[in-house]
């Protein structure tokens, strides 16, 4: 174990949390991430015994989540395993596929609502051009948000994850926080 101390994408040593009315934003630096891409002609594998999801979808099994990224390409998340070499773990699961370390390429912000789906829907409406009402549990999509590229995952009716590029997390947090603050009275 290295003796260097890591920092979060927002520059802190602990994850940032902020609450605005029903909505809470939490930085999730413990989530590991790696990409999985099929080689030409390779049959679709089942890492960790999971069926890789269809376009626009996210699935979860235990601490592992998988979301579709592109044709023949997925992102695999692992809760609490950011300090491991998770890409190596994944590669062992899918030795034929191309695997790339992405844990620090992206930063996850988990958004929870204490009032069910409505605040999440209202937040989505202010941020991204997707049909917020149809973005139900298990949906995952990459889109633009305030000139940034993000992955959105609807983990539950009252939970949304936003994966943004690590370097612009400060701007992303600002955008999410401003939108959430303006929804405080929902």
């Amino acid at each position: 174990m290295t003796d260097l101390t890591p920092i979060t994408a927002l520059g802190g040593t602990i994850a940032r949390v902020e609450t605005f009315g029903a909505l809470s934003l939490t930085e999730n630096p413990a989530m590991a991430l790696a990409s999985l891409a099929l080689r030409k002609g390779q049959s679709v594998p089942s890492p960790f015994g999971m069926t890789l999801p269809e376009p626009g979808k996210w699935t979860k099994s235990g601490a592992i989540g998988v979301y579709w990224m592109a044709k023949d390409q997925w992102m695999v998340e692992a809760e609490g395993r950011a300090e491991e070499d998770f890409a190596r773990v994944l590669k062992a699961e899918v030795p034929e596929a191309s695997v790339t370390e992405q844990t620090d390429g992206w930063a996850a912000i988990e958004i929870t609502s204490s009032k069910g789906a409505a605040p999440i829907k209202a937040l989505l409406e202010k941020l991204v051009n997707i049909d917020a009402g149809a973005f139900t549990q298990g949906s995952a999509l990459r889109t633009g948000l305030d000139h940034m590229s993000v992955f959105l995952i609807r983990r539950a009716e009252d939970r949304l994850a936003v994966w943004g590029m690590r370097s612009s997390t400060e701007t992303l947090w600002h955008a999410l926080a401003v939108a959430a603050r303006r929804l405080e009275d929902i």
Binding site: L4, T5, D131, A132, R166, E170, T171
Partner: protein, 981 residues
């Protein structure tokens, strides 16, 4: 002045407001216009050109005259229509476009010179003397023109943007819109209903018609209660749908807090982009007036507006039997105004109807076959002249309602350059069949203006939308309503010699149109541009059709032959701040921070924007007074000790697959696939047109695993081009790509002592020159087990490495390296020192690789392999590229210690300086501590054959010029021994 009975205002509320500094009171439910009228104020503004006194004409967003400056200070909002400004307690408004007071506007003198200001007069004069245009004429015109005034202070309010999606969007909350929304919502469709007013009902609020025998507001209230229970219906009041865009996307602005003094913690407005599978356009109709002599005095208004003020706001411009109200109409609808006013005991002079056998609908004086032919009253209407059978007579009259028929609001239905079509029965344009896909116009905006027809048509339109979406339409019971036919005469303006206004705000009269006709400005677009007709803030809503009628009369053509104008978004003016929306300051666009940002900040670094990144520019230290001092110190640290620089911003692309090597051979101009595992190679990329556009390195980490680096600026472009090649050009290759730019913190460790320093952090890794030579790469661990990648590459020309660790550890690694390197003179360096180091070494960067340069110009001509195909190889051999003789050279001032400026142009000594004799330019320049003076890089004609020649660098824009010696573009270690050491 007292209010009339009835109305939809809350008489229990009392709002205090000011207009031109004078305090008045009004009620909740008032607009500024209705409240001013209730206080007896008729004079509300001045016209654009002649500064004529003007009062309110309309009761909605088509208002051309009653334009005010609303609010004060930084929130001043010019050109606000008093007719749609919702009254609130504390509202402050001022009149505009006046010099002096509203009643005594000095520029009112323009009116006396009106003959000189005929249509297009300015195109014919002000040409002599030439210089007077900018100095005299134009400033004069500009001061007189314009209407309102900006505060020149930043808008202090905040704005939101948002995105909504629905099955059916209903635009307009009048009879048709309400019926449509109800039908679609009861069907279970996702429905959005938008209305620009603060109260649903549209024209139902302005009329005295009853629904099912009860006031219309009863039905509306019942409906609103039901709407509350429908989760699939979103009702958006104060929301104007201003434009229709491709594929069912509608732009709308919600005025969230324009009806309160200050928004507080709310936004002022929200811009909504609504994606709708279908839309019902229930935008209603706008009344047109009838031009006659001096028809622009305060007190002359549209008949329907007069009725709206009486019914909805319980006000009328006059209630004096001595100064009664008159109605001038060419149709039945005008008579309704008279009846509604009479029912509220407003004294009526009579109805002047242009039709010879005008019908009578009530007990009032009827002037059939008559016209209004003149008016009097300096600041407001006092008398009108009625001419009947050639006999004119003057009558006291303080308010005149003019009814010229109704124009369906075809605006949005024509946004995709659809042409409205003329309806001979309705005597108006109706939406054409070529409107935006998915938009279904209904109700008064297709000419179905009776309440019953509008209700039925709204429901029908919703039914069409639902059917197209495969949703079953429910039976919806609609209330019994008025369904009176309206007859109308083909009568457009009152002939006469005096000025009769067509376009009120821009002062365009019938005479102007006639002059345009005479000067052959007949096509409607010429007419518009020559006279400025329809170009005012109301965009011709009340004037265009009348103007077409006048031109049609002059040319002997029909109105549709004369033309239609093109309708473009927005439907009504939209504030620039809501369209701009979002953050205007430092968060205007994303900022990317490097992994060592926190550390650099703690060291007091100055930052500079590079691409989207904020990079440390230099690290000033105590005692340093000038940026150059810091940069020189950082540069020297690299040359004699060891320097550290965060280079994470360089793009990184992970390339894997069985054909990765072959793929890279085709992306790079040079052979790349053959680089050995554990090695790095420099590479150049060309565009397909043969010009160089990016350079970088490619490291081979495994048999089928490469990592490509790009310049900071081109990271996205290179990635896009690689995906293009992978998917479109060579889809048969087995290649997988993914960006890893942000994943790795990459730090350059450069300088003669870099190896010494790195040895202190690597875990059991042999850094000796033999074990890890120049252009080597490896995966290893550092600082007791942290996974890392090490590349032995050099941008500075010194012994140097780049070390990469997971981004979260970049900050700590930087601090650790600084700590461990203290005795080696370790120093961080920023982009300025980086620039100096690379210029000293002759490495090209953005200024040299600007998309206009060839490989040969860079001195890299041999890197374009002739042995294989690669993007751009074929076209790089074109004549023009092959003949380009400019070459990158080093440049050193001779006999001058002045600063050499990049951007200076190069000339052969003794030649005149002109474009023809231009020999090149200085691309980059800096002070070189190593050389002890300024140095530069530049492109010079035949530069490779001109070593030691003295040339001239001319910089006339800053008045400087100096002699330079042409030298090789390597000021440091030309043999490259240091980096291989």
């Amino acid at each position: 002045m007292t209010r009339l009975s009835g109305g939809l205002i809350d008489r229990n509320s009392s709002f205090s407001f000011t207009f031109d500094g004078k305090t008045y009171t009004g009620h909740q439910g008032d607009t500024l216009a209705s409240a001013l009228l209730a206080n007896g104020v008729r004079l509300m503004g001045r016209s654009f050109k002649y500064h004529r006194p003007r009062g309110v004409v309309a009761a909605g967003s088509e208002e051309p005259n009653a334009m005010v400056e609303l609010r004060s200070g930084a929130r001043t909002e010019p050109n606000t229509r008093a007719t749609v400004a919702e009254l609130y307690d504390g509202l402050v408004a001022k009149s505009q476009n006046r010099t002096g007071s509203l009643a005594f506007d000095a520029l009112g003198v323009n009116d006396y010179f009106a003959p000189f200001f005929a249509a297009g007069f300015y195109y014919k004069t002000f040409m002599w003397p030439r210089a007077f245009w900018e100095k005299l004429y134009e400033p004069m015109i500009r001061r007189a023109a314009g209407l309102g005034r900006l505060s020149m202070q930043a808008d202090p309010d905040s704005y939101d943007k948002g995105f909504l999606h629905c099955d059916v969007l209903v635009i307009g909350g009048g009879a048709a819109g309400l019926a449509a929304a109800l039908t679609a919502a009861r069907a279970g469709a996702q429905v959005i209903l938008c209305d620009e007013d603060f109260r649903l009902g549209g024209r139902l609020l302005a009329e005295s018609h009853r629904l099912d025998g009860a006031p219309a507001t009863d039905w509306i209230s019942t409906l609103e209660a039901e709407f509350e229970t429908l989760p699939n219906l979103r009702v958006m009041r104060r929301t104007t749908v201003f434009g229709v865009y491709d594929h069912g996307i509608y732009g709308a602005v919600e005025r969230v807090s324009d009806h309160v003094v200050e928004p507080g913690n709310k936004v002022r407005q929200t811009l909504w982009r609504i994606t709708a599978k279908r839309a019902v356009l229930a935008a209603g109709a706008t009344e047109r007036h009838i031009p006659f002599a001096d028809n622009d005095r305060p007190g002359v208004m549209l008949g329907g507006a007069m009725r709206a003020y009486a019914n909805r706001w319980a006000v009328t411009p006059t209630q004096s039997a001595k100064d009664p109200v008159a109605i001038f109409t060419n149709n039945d609808d005008g008579h309704r105004t008279a009846l509604d006013l009479m029912s509220k005991n407003v004294p009526i002079l009579g109805v002047i109807d242009s039709r010879e056998n005008a019908p009578r609908f009530g007990d009032y004086d009827l002037f059939s076959g008559a016209m209004v032919t003149g008016t009097k009253g300096r600041l407001g209407l006092r008398d009108i002249e009625i001419t009947k059978g050639g006999v004119a007579s003057w009558h006291r009259c303080a308010a005149l309602g003019v009814s010229g028929g109704w124009n369906p609001n075809v605006h949005l239905a024509s946004h995709h350059r659809g042409r409205p079509v003329w309806d001979d029965t309705l005597l108006s344009f109706v939406p054409g069949a070529d409107g935006p896909a998915g938009l279904i116009p209904a109700g008064a905006c297709v000419g179905l203006g009776s309440t019953a027809k509008a209700l039925a048509d709204g429901a029908k339109a919703a039914g069409i939308a639902l059917a197209e979406l495969g949703i079953k339409t429910p039976e919806v019971a609609l209330p019994d309503a008025e369904d009176m036919p309206v007859s109308q005469a083909d009568f457009w303006h009152v002939p006469g010699k005096k000025r009769a206004w067509v376009d009120f705000q821009n002062d365009v009269t019938v005479k102007d149109i006639s002059l345009a006709h005479k000067e052959n400005m007949k096509p409607v677009e010429h007419l518009k541009r020559w006279t400025t007709l329809g170009m005012a803030t109301d965009q011709g809503k009340t004037s265009n059709v009348s103007a077409l009628a006048v031109m049609a009369e002059l040319t002997g053509k029909s109105i549709p032959q004369t033309g239609t104008t093109i309708f473009r978004p927005p439907y009504t003016g939209v504030s620039l701040s809501v369209l701009g929306g979002g953050d205007t300051g430092v968060n205007f666009r994303p900022r990317r921070l490097t992994p060592t940002h926190t550390w650099a900040k703690s060291q007091g670094a100055e930052f500079v924007e590079v691409g989207q990144w904020m990079r440390a520019q230099y690290f000033p230290q105590a005692g340093e007074t000038d940026w150059r001092e810091s940069v020189d110190r950082e540069t020297k640290a690299v040359r004699v000790g060891v320097g550290l620089c965060d280079v994470t911003t360089l793009g990184k692309v992970d390339v894997q697959g069985a054909d990765a090597g072959e793929f890279l051979n085709r992306m790079y101009s040079n052979m790349m696939g053959t680089v050995a595992v554990g090695k790095v190679r420099y590479g150049l990329m060309l565009r397909e047109d043969g010009f160089a556009y990016d350079d970088g390195t490619c490291a081979r980490l495994g048999e089928d695993h490469y990592v490509v680096t790009t310049t900071t600026a081109n990271a996205g472009l290179v990635y896009r081009n690689m995906e293009f090649a992978r998917q479109c050009l060579w889809p048969e290759l087995d290649v997988q790509l993914i960006s890893t730019t942000d994943a790795w913190a990459q730090i350059a460790v450069a300088g003669p002592k870099s190896r010494l320093l790195l040895e202190r952090v690597v875990d059991e890794f042999d850094l000796s020159n033999d074990a890890f030579p120049f252009m080597g790469c490896a995966e290893l661990t550092v600082c007791k087990g942290l996974r890392a990648r090490l590349f032995r590459i050099s941008f500075s020309g010194e012994l140097a490495y780049e070390i990469a660790v997971p981004a979260r550890y970049g900050n700590a690694l930087m601090a650790r390296l600084m700590e461990l390197g203290a005795d080696l003179g370790a120093a961080p360096y920023g982009t300025e020192a980086l620039g100096v180091l690379r210029i000293e070494k002759g490495h090209a960067a953005g200024a040299e690789l600007n998309g206009q340069t060839t490989a040969a110009m860079l001195g890299l001509g041999r890197m374009v392999s002739a042995k294989k195909d690669s993007i751009g190889a074929v076209m790089s051999r074109r004549e023009g590229l092959a003949r380009d003789a400019r070459r990158l050279v080093g440049l050193q001032p001779v006999g001058s210690t002045e600063r050499l400026m990049a951007g200076s142009h190069l000339f052969t000594q003794g030649t005149a300086h002109s474009m023809e004799t231009d020999q090149g330019w200085v691309t980059s320049a800096c002070y070189s501590p190593h050389v002890g003076g300024y140095i530069g890089l530049g492109y010079l004609e035949n530069g490779d054959t001109r070593m030691d020649e003295e040339i001239i660098a001319a910089n006339p824009i800053e008045g400087s010029e100096m002699r330079l010696r042409v030298v090789p573009a390597h000021f440091v270690d030309p043999e490259g021994e240091r980096l291989r050491d």
